[in-house]
Amino acid sequence: MKENINNKMNNTLIKQSIFKSAKGLWLALPMILGTILLISLISVIVPKSFYTLVFSKNPFIDSFIGSLIGSISAGNPITSYIFGGEMLDQGIGLIAVTAFIVSWVTVGLIQLPAEFVILGKKFALLRNITAFMLSIIVAIITVFLLEVII
């Protein structure tokens, strides 16, 4: 008898969990679709050569620009590695490329509206601003350590 009640409660709990998840995803769906549509449009409009044209030779300005471009870009990290590799081949400094690949995945300006709605405006803004600044710091520390160790 007790086992039956426990089983029923468990089943109800499972159903509630599934319903709650479905509702959560449904609420996020328009933002997710809108974000993917926007990413698709930007990926087509902004040519890949644009990323290599903007950089100068100054490591500090480059790391700032790298971080800035990485922030407004979106997509799989795999793309950032390929872009980063191409940037290195073009003679762009490692600090700038590091800032670029780090901010690519840690800052999400395109996804910001989704983050606003789902996680809160204040948190989303603070997270992205700190991630932007930290991507420059990560780049400087990483390249410094690499030069010291190797």
Partner: protein, 177 residues
């Protein structure tokens, strides 16, 4: 009148989607090629993320079933650096686009996970184990190893900064991780 009222009830997210669709319609009229290329890109992403969407749904259901505020408090409370370790690990092991994880994280937040840990989770999503071989090919293993370690440490620093800026009180931390 009824239509206007219904429009007012729509969440902002639908307006965002509507605006993007409107932009696509403009491209359909004035620049058909860009419209087609963008749609093709969109299709590629959608096809790629459908399996991830299913995984996220299963994980969300599991977390709704298993992860209650009590569960979080039990497993992450008073563990000091360990709770950060678990969040870092979760961030690294999670896959798919970042925005796919927002509903999951919002759910965890409602169950007591603080903002700093959410930020730490999102930061560590930048580290993707399956992609590391490609990164090593482009940048050398020494560079990637240093970068990964630096990013893990920085993710904790970002979490602490976020907690400070979001004014998470110390006793709130003790009670809700």
């Amino acid at each position: 009148m009824k239509f206007k009222n219904k429009l007012k009830q729509l969440p902002g997210a639908w307006y965002f989607l509507g605006t993007i669709i409107f932009i696509y319609i403009l491209f359909l009229i004035f620049n058909y090629e860009t419209y087609l290329d963008s749609l093709e890109f969109f299709n590629q992403i959608i096809l790629k993320i459908i399996p991830i969407f299913i995984i996220v749904f299963i994980l969300m259901s599991l977390s709704n079933y298993l992860i209650t505020p009590k569960f979080i408090i039990k497993h992450l409370k008073n563990k000091g650096l360990k709770k950060w370790f678990f969040v870092i690990l979760g961030g690294i092991l999670s896959s798919g686009p970042i925005y796919m994880w927002y509903p999951f994280l919002a759910d965890l937040k409602n169950k007591g996970l603080n903002y700093g840990l959410i930020a730490c989770f999102l930061y560590n999503r930048a580290i993707k184990i399956p992609l590391l071989p490609l990164a090593i090919i482009y940048f050398s293993w020494q560079y990637i190893l240093i970068l990964v370690i630096v990013m893990m440490i920085i993710s904790i620093i970002q979490g602490l900064i976020i907690n400070k800026l979001m004014e998470v009180k110390k006793n709130e931390n003790c009670n809700s991780i």
